[in-house]
Symmetry: C2
């Protein structure tokens, strides 16, 4: 009898913990709606190079550290092709940062701008295009 009480109590509690976490998970994973996004795009053209390994293992983690707790997540993608036939590849690579607060992001980056700029020359010979956007969905 004691065992049955223990087991049923444990199951009931586990169910509620599971339910609460599932809800939390869906809220976090569903979308980045409302966040600010900084997109750093590296245009492709003849003679331009991009070292994805350096970018992924050194540059992006460094910038993520500089942004700090305001950073929700960052992403990296590798350009493969233009989606329109007979058009050249637009970007070799794109990196993005999702942040809660744009002003905080700018204050965090400002004192490190020179360090970041110098580091960019270690993995590419192209100047990135940067876009600040709001996540609608």
């Amino acid at each position: 009898m004691k065992l049955r009480v223990v087991i049923s109590t444990a199951f009931i509690l586990a169910f509620f913990v599971s339910f609460a976490q599932e809800n939390n998970h869906q809220r976090t994973a569903s979308s980045e709606k409302g966040l600010l996004k900084i997109t750093v795009m590296y245009p492709f053209s003849e003679g331009k190079t991009f070292d994805m390994t350096y970018y992924e293992t050194k540059h992006m983690p460094m910038v993520a550290d500089i942004i700090g707790a305001n950073l929700v997540k960052y992403t990296i993608e590798k350009g493969l092709a233009s989606g329109i036939p007979n058009q050249p590849l637009s970007y070799m690579a794109i990196g993005t940062f999702y942040v809660r607060n744009l002003q905080e992001y700018q204050s965090a980056i400002a004192p490190h701008r020179e360090t970041i700029r110098t580091d960019i020359t270690k993995y590419t010979n192209v100047a990135p295009v940067i876009l600040i956007s709001e996540v609608v969905r």
Copy 2:
């Protein structure tokens, strides 16, 4: 005594459920790594317009339906500013589709290309730039 056993068992179980789900959460939410991404970018320039409401409520859901089960998720963002001082805004809006299989995406889109093109004229007067990329992180 019985109560103490019940409570401690429940707590131990709850801890393990919580731990297992936390791990699972991090795995699912961490990234879309390995997926293919189609990014549709609408360049900004003088006189160009973009109807975000139509895009969000009509166009994107329509294309999402056409892509079907191969679509993992889609996103919409609104361009706010260039991230580089004194540079014009690069894109007014960006829509993306994350898919598992690129060939399947292309086969799904092909018979509807004309419908999609006609629909684009309902929310913008600019031709989008399209990039196909691989999610690295």
